[in-house]
Symmetry: D3
Subunit: 270 residues, 6 copies
């Protein structure tokens, strides 16, 4: 157990000498950007924080990186991508708050020597405010050779994977909230967190090409899932997880160079 | 396992219908306020987030409350209470960022019906910025009957407990960073996270009655622990944890009324 | 000419008594949200401000509304949707600045009696910051019955229209920057602004599923157009403009009710 | 027509290669700072944006400069200089918003190579917030040799011009809102925008030596013009415009050096 | 001495029960708005804070009001009105800082029951940022019947007074920085603070009709006084002080009603 | 009198040439950080601004320094250390406002050449926001060799002094608000400001180990003094003042080096 502890890639579990030692290798530091947001009756509120942390951990193991602090809360939920504000449990941070957190985290990681950062976004609505936070931080840290990658992990899903996950056709990423992809990944990474008996089977939401403020609650299925999650399976979760691990690691290596592949590939370190 | 899941007091593990149902009872919602900060060579960087979350969970079980989102990063580390900026791994959020997070979280919890909140601070430097965030939020939510408690959990330590934890005399709360109290609590709650062989035994730091900017690194013991943690034991951790659970729950009941005591007292739900 | 002047739907051209009189009818007030951003070698920097203003003007004529102030500058250009920061001429406002402008404009329009607002976004990157500005303003104006619609005009393009504009297949909205759609609309609304001899014919850009900071300039075609604009024609512009006018007006009527159709339909008032 | 287009001094009408080419000459970049504000029953709400843009265009032609983005909205209208908040149509931006816009615009223009900027203020209330925005930007851009001029165009009016415009005596610049000077300039630059039959002839407002919040509406003539505009003529507009063009160009040359005088002097390029 | 103490109109000198008692009469609360800014070789840096405090005290005695906290630092010094940034000793607060202070002070005074406030500005450059702070506060305190007056005390100088103070003609308020008016008032209120042997006698500054950033130091007389202060006398100070006391008090009574005239008129209470 | 004036250590009383001359010696610049806050029925609202200014003045005389601008208002009063918000007269600045003031003051003093600054806090609640302001400023001024000391003056009170001031035992610094220490110092520095007949003799407040928002007014003695001030004497004030002068000066010399001891030691210069 002591062994597992000292081999963790999670910064939060490291003692400072371990973190300090690791930083001397100029590792890629991953920052998972999640949320606390409704995810249907079958998934916990923190799905969007859990999944990018899981993916970040695996990629960090793959490339010899570190997983920095997870952003456990995120930008406000939009009606058409996350169900919106009328569901209990969603914590909507202001845009300015998300920007500030991202900027501060970068400033601090750079202060500790990080020059290669990778933000893995697990909450759709985060991406523009994470991006703005990165831009603000880049302006602030100046010319120190810092380079940052930002990605939404689902954008790495290949057409091959999609074909296997959705043998009857992909309803589109826009509706994939608390649906087959997230549920399958949760069945893989955190099966004990999935209320299998509550997996919803509602038809896909249909949204007009505009938004309204205040939001129209009746646009959203009452379950909070934007389309049926019934077809979710653990096997699909494994499939996606492995493909993400492989391809995100490849992109990280392409942009940031080298990166040792650890012998013990693919396993969960925790 | 499904049972444990649906009985969780942690908001992050709830699905939205469970959270919504629970909120109808007007529960006390606890917000643990932590940090990512150096805690000596023997404790992980996230001690200050872990401990108030553990305590909040126990008190929430005791009084029928909910544990809302943990603030996993906090205000910047001061030299004389946390070792300061020169240790690797500390993530210093700006004061304005902490204030914004606290304000947003309160606004959102109040939007979901919370009227009784309790901020449990686990990182000394957080308290004034958490307090300011509460003040800002109170101004914003206006006259909805919201009442908020804020506490630093160690302030509940009684002289009786202190006498048992420090049979040779208490060196003072000012030096209790990564020392006997935190290490003992970690040995109780998260023993697998403690590097026992790394527990430092340095003499207590001596600080002059002022601060310097930039900080003098030589004021702080090189271990990062402000005083020896050698006397830490799991038993002391249990002792403190039980007393905190009892007395914080009592204070919460006094201020917020009623609060059912659950039959299964004292256990860890996770 | 005096006649045209007093019949303008553009707030900027009205004298205060005209605006005040018009506001008594509780009209929909449109706010075009543009940018100053590179749009290839053939289009002016202010395309993203011109087009939503043109569309807003037409829809306002259709439904008896007013076109409020155009946001002539917008949120920073992203590499993968706008070519990014390395092109001369793009003015990137900070996210906080865009949010503030939107919030102030709403506060002021509401102060003048507006209860129905419609933000027509003409610059892709604006949408999330316009949305945040709306949310901030809604919180501030409180319970006065204000309702706001926000739309990106291209989302109203029907599959029928797409089929006509792209007889050889639609390369996807992601690449439609300074390309066939925008160029065709400019050929319709502002033909004198199009440098026809400079219309680029480069192949479509191919982007990886992530972003880099600082941006990789080599990801973007040197023209600044993300795909060829050669197939642009004025007729396609007319086709899209008419469909947008019809369908956006319909959506506005659906959400905001009634809305007299003026006898003189479809013409440009200026 | 293509010719006029490629010879424009307006950045908004340039395509990026034209702007980029021009910036290599280190031109003075002019930023007109306007407003949307009531200007009596006879002038449009955007007078304060139109006039400095017109003047900037002429001076830019004179000295070989560029007219950057016009600020079409400005700082809030004061009762004693602009009629104040009770007139329909005025859009009052917060001071912080104006400061942010100015700072962002400077930062961006400097990023594109501008080292000589000239802010031409056309809305009295803007000047202190434009000035603060300049100061903030100067602090941010640091030591790159940036120099900025800021002027309120009416301050260039000579006593000779005044004597001709006001043969019966000048009532003072304080009352010149929607009055003889602005109306004459509009008759010159935008005659189609002036409701000649609505030109007010009220006596001059008399204000006490203090301000009140909330504003006293009865201090202001009901027309919104602070003094009669009856004596306005196009000829006076031409007179002022020519003098401003000559003297502002001279000041620009004095501070920024050289500046080619174009052969075709004085005409309107658009 | 106890008597003087309990009769003070200065809030800073009151104990809380005295202030609380006084506030029950709904008094006008005056807020002097000063600066720390160069005022020539003969006047202290805090002239702009001292004089409005003196005047506020006298007017408060006259109308039965209270002098709240003096703003001892103010908005940045402009070259053409205060000599600008190159003189040692000027403390330039950012615009946002001044706005925040004013807003906070109003919020707090209103919380203590104040409904009539009067800001007396003693530093020219403060006025627009004080005004913005008032506007922000008015928006925040909402509909509680708060009314606020703002004045620059020199605007109350009558032509009669001017004729006596400047028998050879008034050089204009624009140059009256550290000159005859301020020096005379200081000779009246704080003679021990005036370095009489250092009173400068330079000719008046001549400024062009624009500003430059960075400022041109050579525009300003090396003394820091914008025109000669030689003609300053204590008698002129008395004359102005009495007229200001009389006329500002009259304006305050006109706007805020009643206001008992204390028997002991005109004396200095301290 | 001219002599006293030109020998002042108070920046506010200096003319710019005196300040400029003095700054060439690279003096320590002291910034007293006070408040306007209730201090019982016997002390004026500005005690927390007066005392650190007095102490700063003495230490500045001792080490050849300058006393910069006093912060006359401070961060909001806490219930358990200052009596809290329900007492008339306390002006609570927002945290962000205090941070901004401190940052601006440092930026400006550094611009004038200051490299050694010492913030003397006289209001308990200020310290964390003053600290944050210092951190913000240090980040902004960059690498210019600036060093800043921050101290709460009461932390310099030695056990010897405590034994003399509290012969019957020290009730603890937590209750020392408007009590023996502050009252004694005021009897020394400003005896005319103390309402001796109003000195309260209430028993010490007892606070639970948590805070409530809104604050419980009944926690605080009705006098506003957290414990009896009856034992206050001028002699105790002198004792403390002399010890503070000696020991703070010693700390300043230790950190900032040299510092001439002026012949005329210990006297009040004003």
């Amino acid at each position: 157990m002591a062994k597992a502890r000292t081999e963790t890639v999670l910064m939060s579990e490291m003692a400072w000498p371990e973190f300090g030692q690791k930083m001397k290798t100029n590792p890629v530091v991953f920052v998972p950007c999640g949320a606390m947001e409704q995810h249907g009756p079958h998934l916990p509120l923190s799905v969007d924080a859990m999944l990018p942390t899981d993916i970040a951990r695996e990629v960090a193991e793959e490339v010899g990186g570190i997983v920095g602090p997870t952003l456990t809360m995120g930008y406000r939920s939009y009606t058409k991508s996350g169900g919106g504000p009328h569901f209990p449990g969603t914590i909507n941070l202001d845009g300015a708050t998300v920007i500030s957190i991202v900027r501060d985290v970068i400033r601090e990681l750079v202060r500790h020597g990080a020059r290669k950062l990778c933000f893995i976004v697990g909450h759709y609505e985060n991406q523009w405010f994470v991006s703005e936070g990165i831009d603000q931080a880049m302006r602030e840290v100046g010319d120190q050779g810092v380079r940052i990658m930002r990605l939404e992990y689902w954008d790495f899903c290949t057409s091959e994977t999609l074909a296997k996950v959705f043998p009857d056709g992909f309803p589109g990423v826009a509706l994939e909230h608390a649906a087959v992809m997230e549920t399958s990944l949760m069945l893989h990474y955190h099966p004990e967190m999935v209320r299998i008996d509550k997996i919803p089977d509602n038809p896909g939401a249909e949204f007009p090409p505009y938004d309204m403020y205040p939001a129209h609650a009746h646009w959203v299925p009452s379950s909070g899932a934007l389309v049926s999650a019934k077809a979710a399976t653990r096997e699909k979760g494994v499939l996606m997880a492995q493909q993400y691990r492989r391809d995100i690691a490849a992109a990280v290596r392409k942009e940031f160079g080298g990166g040792k592949r650890k012998a013990k590939a693919g396993g969960k370190s925790r």
